[in-house]
Each structure stands twice: as structure tokens, then as C-alpha cells.
Symmetry: C3
């Protein structure tokens, strides 16, 4: 199945590409790499400022927000090169705004990883780093950054 069929089967729709919130681009292609800017959770066009996980936001909620970030990343990729031209997702970093004593960042970031597998299949598998941070832009709960490999 192609990624668009997988999106449809999962009942997912690519959101509009997130407008950069500063002097940068949504994604950049250099050679056969695509660097996507860090994506914050946007639902119905609104940035979700849900604060640290483990305090203001639950793990389950944060995992859903993490999926939203990954879906926005795929929108940026689709706009730049077309999803069908992804050969492999290479790297994903998940930054999780974390309350003191919250150590389940990996479970939050699984939302993003799962979304990539759902849409891209084996091409969505990636190396990953999950970390906890004190605060994120716009007081979001999670931010996701991906780097992908495409044709040269």
C-alpha cells in the first residue's frame, strides 16, 4: 500500500503544513536527506499548550499529541518531496516537557513512532532519542523532530 492509502485506511488526514514560527523553513532537503523542523502538536489548526506531562497532561493524552506532531512532520515531508519518495525515516527525536518525577518519555514518543509505522510501514522505522525537558515553546507537552532519507 502507498502512504496515502495507509493514511486513508487509518482515518488520518494530513494537516496543512505548519507555518514556521520564525526565520526558518518547515523542511529542507540536502542531497538525499530531508531535515524536518521540530513539530509541536496542532489540533484543528490550534497549537495545543497542554504543559508538562505527569502534571497538567496525562501520558495517554501526551501520546496522542505526539502522534499529531508526527502527522505534521509528514505533512511537511509530503509538501517538500511527496510521501511516496521517502525511502526510510532515519532519526526521530522526541522532546517531552516533563513534570518532576516523570520518567516515561519513551512511552509518549511511541505515539509518534507508531504513527510513522502506520503511514510508512517498514520505511517508517527509525533510530530514536527521547528526552525530558523543563519547558517547550508555546507550553506544548511534546515536540517531535524527524530526519528522512530520499532519492538523490
Amino acid at each position: 500500500m502507498d502512504p496515502y492509502a495507509r493514511l486513508a485506511e487509518a482515518g488520518l488526514h494530513l494537516p496543512p503544513v505548519s507555518a514556521p514560527r520564525g526565520a526558518y523553513l518547515p523542511a529542507v532537503r540536502v542531497g538525499n536527506l530531508v531535515y524536518v523542523s521540530g513539530q509541536v502538536p496542532i489540533v484543528d489548526g490550534i497549537v495545543v499548550s497542554s504543559g508538562p506531562v505527569g502534571a497538567e497532561t496525562s501520558l495517554d493524552m501526551a501520546k496522542e499529541l505526539s502522534k499529531a506532531c508526527a502527522l505534521s512532520a509528514l505533512s511537511a515531508v509530503d509538501d517538500l518531496i511527496g510521501l511516496a519518495n521517502v525511502i526510510q525515516v532515519a532519526r526521530l527525536v522526541g522532546y517531552v516537557a516533563s513534570a518532576s518525577g516523570f520518567y516515561e518519555q519513551a512511552k509518549v514518543v511511541d505515539g509518534a513512532s507508531d504513527l510513522l509505522l502506520t503511514v510508512l510501514g517498514e520505511k517508517g522505522r527509525h533510530a530514536r532519542t527521547s528526552i525530558g525537558v523543563s519547558t517547550l515553546p508555546f507550553n506544548v507537552s511534546v515536540e517531535i523532530e524527524v530526519t528522512l532519507f530520499t532519492h538523490s
Copy 2:
């Protein structure tokens, strides 16, 4: 205009390459990618230990420090490959030491992004990730990491 003319026009001077503060290199080239080490703000040869933004340091001050980091990154690039050999900045990550309740990391990192556009023009455009962290080495307010694309 070449990057040196742009620097001169903006009244900017490349500082000396920051000596690594540990067992690493200022920048590494592999194939057509240049990875630059994270740069802390150095003004007149001194690391600026100005603490978290939103508490000890203002947004405006932090934005200037962010520019200083980006200028140091360009020095490392110039020393390794020469600025004229940059084809495209690919990725910039801005780590902002943030006081509780400070969510304008993106505005701080705009200082670095703007500096790259000033010096490199369209070649300075990049994908970007901005995050807030609790503390940075030497108690700096901001740290900037860039990855660039060059000739193979």
C-alpha cells in the same frame, strides 16, 4: 554577494574558532555534510554565563546571545571548509535555558536564524528545532547547533 562581503556590510567579524571544552572537534566534515559542535555565546573571548531566559536574562538579550552562537558556528565552518563552500544550512537546533513559565524559545533562536540569513542569504535557510532546557554548560542562556551541506 559573497558571505565575507555580507559580514562586512553587517559590521560583523568572525570570532576565533571556539576551543573545544573537552574531547571533541569544533566541526567535522563527513561526505557532503558538516556537523558543527554546539556553540555557547562568547563575547570578546569570554563565555557569557547569563543564566535562564525569563529570569536572569531578557528575551532581547538572549536573542543577541543566540546571534553570537551562530557567528561562532560560522567561524568553525569557515575554518573547516570556508564559508564560500556552504551550499545550504540544513538544520539548526536552539537549546534555550528557560525559567519556569518562559515559552518564547522560538524568538530567542530567531537571533541565530536571522544571523545565518544575513551572512549566507538563501543558503542560510534551514529546518529548525527550538527547545527549552533547565540548565546549559557554563550557565549560558542559549546554545546553538548547526548542520550544513557542502560539496562532496
Copy 3:
């Protein structure tokens, strides 16, 4: 000397590849780049949940844990491409869980950098970014992520 002889000379043994703690891979190769997932400290098969450096964990202890992370990263590389096929380590990021007022993240991450030099010699030299974060997965003190260059 090859990396295996260097490991033996240093009295080091590659640990088993860390099982991913979520929907990702230990390492991914795309073209001539190998992205390794963020590695937490594992000693005798157990994740070391030693908390923030500068509070629950000393700098010296954290530096040792940082070495363990780098050794795990090398295990993932060896499993994927074989250590002898590393041309150059390109990038290392060290995330250090930091108590308030702890600013010596670079010294902690030196443990990982030194380990790479010990095992890979000049091929182990890299660009580096060290940052402090509030919390890490599993309450570890340090997490290390590396990207390497190999044959195409």
C-alpha cells in the same frame, strides 16, 4: 590497531545491543550515515536510574555512566555494520540530567567522547553538543546519541 584489539587492550567488552524500549530500532543506516538511537547507561544488563548529576549522582560517577552509554552505542554500530566499517564518528549529543546549579555537563560527556577515542582512535573524533535537561527516561543521569559515517 583495529577497534576490537583496542577494546581488548582497554579491558572493555561490547555489551549486548540494548533492546529498544519502544517502536524504534537500535540503529539505522541510510546511505553512508548510521544514526544510533539515544543510549542510556546499562551496567550488567540493568538500566542505571541514578538521577540528576550534581544531586543524586556525582560528576565522576556520571562520567563513567556516560562511557557506558557510548559503549552501548558502539554495540549497536557493531551489530549493524561492524565496527571496522566506521569511517568517522560525525556527531555526538550528550543529554545530562542536571540538578539546579550544575553546569559541568561537558565534563560528564567527556566520558563518552573519551571512550570513542579509545576504541576508534582518530576515527572516533566528532562534533559534539552537551546540554542539561531536567529529567531523562528511566531517571538515568545521562543519555548519549551518536551519528557515524561509513562506506556507501
